[in-house]
Amino acid sequence: MRAALGLWWGLQRREAAHDRRPTLLAVLAFAVSTTALLVSLGGTHAFVDRAAVAPPGDEYAPIYVVLALVACALLVVPILTLGGVAARLGVARRHARLATLRLAGATSRQVGLMTLAECAAQAFAGAILGALGYALALAPLSLLAFQGRRLGVDELWLGLPLVAAVVAGVVLLSVASGVGGLLRVVVGPLGVAARTTPVRLSAVRVLVVGCVVLAWFVVGQLTQQVGMAVTLGVLAAVVATINVLGPYVVMLSGLAVARLARGPETLLAARRIVDDPRSTWRSVSALGLGVALAALSSVGTVIAGDAGADPAGAVLGADIATGSLVALVIVSVVAATSTGVVQAARVIDQGPQYRALALAGAPIPFLHRARLREVTIPLGATIVLGSVLPLLVLVPFADLAGIGLLVRTVVAIAAAAALTVAALAASRPLVREAVRL
């Protein structure tokens, strides 16, 4: 064991700065997902804290707790997805290196230990940086006001044991995902590297989603009978099914675009989407969810604002709008990191193909355009689906306040999309480097 860990450490130190980039990307992704998770949990913590000390007659305090829990549940999915993205980074390169080590005589146990050490080290470094990010975010977050007063740093702070638990959880999840990867290597070293037919996602996914949505309608009618816990559980299942349906829809739309594409960049982008619909979905789903959340909550706020002469109800409406914007900011950062990291890793993994294309006369702007489309096609579809329907519902209610809210939501969504595209652009130098001789 010591020999394996010693060898791993030696290899880490000798790695050229150039080869270290996938590691840095993984650490970045772990850091952002940890910060996002801690901030979401911190916000929930604040409302739970407030509800605990609320006067007995305050009927709104429990609503805040429920809303915070729902928001947190919604945020956890994209955050964990980003964690998964981080764990998958550099898998191809890692497997190549492990295969070399196996050939050089390392036992599978040693190789396994080295992989797990690498996963754990990346996750730990990222999680520690993420915890620092959370600590730094506390001061700006405490400027936000809910229920008519600012969130205190002490309300948002989870306490050292909880933060440590989250860091440990991130490391554990990463190691678990590393074990998953190892099992695949054990099954067949060639099976991992060789690219075969893309797994065609089956239409069974649609059926599953149909059932869950049906369950939601039933439970929604019977909330009184089945209780809050079951209702929230089914709601979580509905959110989870978005992740079941999403890749399938992404694949179908990719196939449609590939069939209709006229230009080479659209064709290449669509084929890349079809090639790995899950990864494409991972990089846009967070934003789609955030957008839907922001749009839906603005609908809700306007309807609530219409009904409410009650001042506390008006405060609640404004708070929901603020909260959903905060959630949108969190998912935007998570989504942008996800897209940026996935795309950067792809360029690093596909460097030889990029280079061959460029040598054969493909201009670099073409490569940039294909990458941009690979992101904007699913991103556009997600934003339209996630926002247009709720916003259309909003239009009939649009008085002056509603229009202000509408504009704010649209601006926030546009900013979130711009952030994602900017994250993509950050990996442009990698493309130029990949094609340089």
């Binding site: 690219r195 230009g263 290449l268 084929r271 061959a356 294309l357 460029a358 040598l359 006369g361 201009p363």
Partner: protein, 276 residues
């Protein structure tokens, strides 16, 4: 043969690819020139193998001839234009329209089916998709890949992948096809099949072929062989043998088809030459 209206500027080059006095020095601390005064003429339709030990400069020579690298000094004339004096964008466009490339395996785009891999260069050149796909399918068929159009590179054997790469190189009707170790990842029999297809199809299309290899058997498929060592052409090239650029191995000097034993013998031969 295409006319060469700008032949005035390079009177004796015609449709040939003509390099004169190529010097290439990579920037760096130990700036040993990778090429030091190389003259090469590749006539239309002929096939030339470039052999040499690792680090001899053979890949650099290929890259300079193909307009991928600009030489430190010297000229590369193609259809009357000097590649060394062209801008980067113009050379990129020229590589797309006038040249074809075959690399070692693994350089097809894994996400695209074979047909689209072959159609991509045409689409990049602005050919509408339907026409590009039709032409790609036709070229694939001539390489015995009819019926495999929907397969992706991961679902093809090494030899099939290289034939797709050959189709991609030829689909734009290039004047010269450059191949860098095209059989480097193949077994001997597949390698012979691929080289046979490559030389046969280039000859049919009237495209010249430049193959960088360290495999004497691969070189045997070409009309003549240039040996590069320490950035120079080692010995005068044998006369052009266009009769051998038609898909038959260059075996007349030994009278038997190439075998591993021959290859080994020849490589010993070369070592003695290089040792001088």
């Amino acid at each position: 043969m295409r006319p060469h209206p700008t032949a005035v500027t390079a009177p004796d080059t015609g449709d040939a690819l003509v390099a004169r006095d190529l010097v290439k020095t990579y920037p760096g601390v130990d700036a040993v020139p990778a090429l030091r005064g190389v003259d090469v003429t590749v006539s239309p339709g002929e096939s030339v193998a470039v052999m040499g030990p690792s680090g001899s400069g053979k890949t650099t020579l290929l890259h300079v001839l193909a307009g991928i690298l600009t030489p430190t000094s010297g000229s590369v004339h193609w259809r009357g234009r000097d590649l060394a004096r062209m801008g980067d964008a113009a050379r990129t466009a020229l590589r797309r329209t006038d040249f074809g490339f075959v690399f070692q395996t693994g350089h097809l785009l894994g996400e695209l089916p074979a047909l689209e891999n072959v159609a991509l260069p045409l689409m990049l050149a602005g050919v509408p998709r339907r026409e590009a796909a039709g032409r790609a399918a036709a070229v694939l068929a001539t390489l015995g890949l009819g019926g495999l159009e929907r397969r992706r590179p991961g679902e093809l054997s090494g030899g099939q992948s290289q034939r797709v790469a050959i189709a991609r190189a030829l689909v734009g009707r290039p004047g010269v096809v450059f191949a860098d170790e095209p059989t480097g990842a193949l077994d001997q029999q597949t390698s012979a099949e691929v080289m046979g297809e490559l030389t046969r199809r280039c000859a049919q299309e009237g495209a010249a072929l430049v193959v960088v290899t360290h495999d004497a058997q691969v070189a045997g498929w070409c009309g003549r062989t240039l040996r590069v060592r320490d950035g120079r052409i080692e010995r005068p090239a044998t006369p052009d043998r266009p009769d051998l650029a038609t898909g038959t191995p260059n075996t007349s000097d030994r009278g038997t088809p190439p075998t591993p034993r021959d290859a080994a013998a020849r490589s010993r031969d070369e070592q003695t030459v290089w040792a001088r």
